[in-house]
Amino acid sequence: MDVVEKANAARQKRWTKDRKVGEGTYAVVYQGREAATGRKVAIKKIKVGQFKDGLDMSAVREVKYLKELAHQNVIALLDVFSSKTNLNLVLEFLDTDLEMIIKDRSLVFLPADIKSWMAMTFRGLEFCHRNFVLHRDLKPNNLLIASDGQLKLADFGLARDFADPGYKMTCQVITRWYRPPELLFGARYYSTAVDIWSVGCIFAELMLRTPYLPGESDMDQLKTTFRALGTPTEEDWPGHTKLPDYVPVGQFPKTPLRELFTAATADTLNLLGKCLIYEPRKRISAKEALSHPYFFALPYPSHPSKLPKTASQLAASRMAEEAETNVDMNGPGPAVKAAPPNRLKRKMSGDDIGRSVARKLDFSQPAAA
């Protein structure tokens, strides 16, 4: 056994896997513990076998960037080790994600709650951007919530560093509903503004409690966007007609945001509008957004510990409290995380799926009544 293998074995021993909590295309997520302290962790086992030319790209990206980024609003990568042919990422365990909270109809959001989530998102994003990392897959599903209410950016599988001149970047990133128009038009040179657009969409979704721009295809996404915000003119967005995949998708009039967001304050709509400016260079940056009057106006952003929690999260935190009665309340505490059952895409409710299958022709049934 050489030195590397020995070191790896030592690392592996620090963590134990408890149970499987989720499975995606590239990885299986387990809940586990740190052997020494009993702290809960999530272990993401990357399936290496199926990739013919080495490691999966998204795993490489995730390790590459998470290893560099340490911030309270970015998920922490605690360790990396390999077991047999698999690569294992040890991540902070987080209870839930923003999508589950948005979907939970039993929760009521105060304007202060939304402000708090937005501040945490912008803080995490500002940290990535200041370190020249684009997240490129921001959506409620990838904003995880810790048991103490802190919001953390997760899933850096599509992240990359930017600001190297002359390198083309792919425009096939970001989940469609949160994808900015410059990517839909095929821009190969872009910057931090793409993430800001996604945050704008999430901001709107937090207020509406339903996705703001749910396009059915890439083409429809452009149409949906323009229907909501008006078709951009050459003045709004100079040069957009020269983008590689530019196609005219019809003229829609501009409607003020006020018409859809009737209850929002002027500050709120001002910030939202600045996140959803067509011209990427005019779009607000994460740093500027954090100094926007919206965040300073009353009500103050909710304290993270008071933010709405899903039922499962409450149960989890109660269990954690019971299990560890002498926890240091000021410390980071037992960070917990549950991978949502399917992190890949939204689904219709489970009932519908089950039924549609059951109603198919069933050959095993007796023939006639």
Partner: protein
Amino acid sequence: MSSAGRSNAGGWLRGSAIRKGTSSNNASRSLTPQVHSTSSTVFGGGVKDPSGRTSEFFSMDDQCPVCKSDRYLNPKLRLLVSSCYHKMCESCIDRLFTLGPAPCPICNKILRKLAFIPQTFEDLSVEKEVSVRRRIAKEFNKRREDFPILRVYNDYLEMVEDITFNLINDIDIPETEARIAAYRKENAALTELNTQRDQAYVQALKEQEEAEKRERQLRADELRRAEEEERDARENERRELIDSLERSDADAARLVRRSRADALKRAAARTAAASQAVQQSSAMLLRNRAAQSSTVPDVPHVPLQDDWYAYDDKYTMRETYVDPASEAVRRDREGIMRAGGYRVEEAWERALRSAVAGLEVTPLVGLEPS
């Protein structure tokens, strides 16, 4: 008025034409099977739709291959399929098979009257495949859990598919039947168990659906009752108003106004009561949320909670730099890089920042300088 009536009639006629059947030159869509009978006859077979009815294939071009009677001559023509997958009309079946088993007029196989099934699919080979698969599925109902490894399960599925294919295409029928019989003898217990499991699942599904239906019914009843009550209340109000107008000699206009106001108030109370359930719960939620808010005080917003930007004063960005690598970007004032939001200044800032980031950082203790 009359034009509306006429267009309506046209619509109805069109609708009925579609419902009645199709002409041959219509698109294939209109030839899809249509629900035709609820088939509780002695005839078996057919494929059931979700409501438990059998859809029967039906087309205007139906013709009995035996007596050549067609839908024009006999509008009530109903074609049934024999166990050898030949069609014939009900009257032919009566004529040929009432006196007991007789040979099929087309292929001479001995047939019985009771073995005719209604036709569901236009293509009889599909009909045959469905019934073969149904039969096979009844016998070969093992599941993945019944096998130790996936490989064995796949082999099993392969065998089932072979048998099915043989039966459908009439290959080695006796041998295949023997295989099925052997399998049946070997796996009788497991097959029985799986059948029971499937039945339990179907039962559960049915119960769930029934419960949903009941609930819907209940809700609809509730709604109807509420509507009736409202109508009665309105009727009462009107009667009261007329009574008071008759009896008192106060100003009529004022009486009407007062009764209007009352009615409005009552209507508001009714809507409030109707949405009370919802209102109450959301009000409760909000109250809970607000109560929670007072325990930990919210603090004013602090944009950044670290001192990263303290390093900003270590350098100043210049207007422009000599940078051949980014020349393409800078020359492209109006083009694709600009519209995409790319800024060359970011590249320069990154280079500068990387250059100064390590200044004044105390070296880690215990590390040897390399």
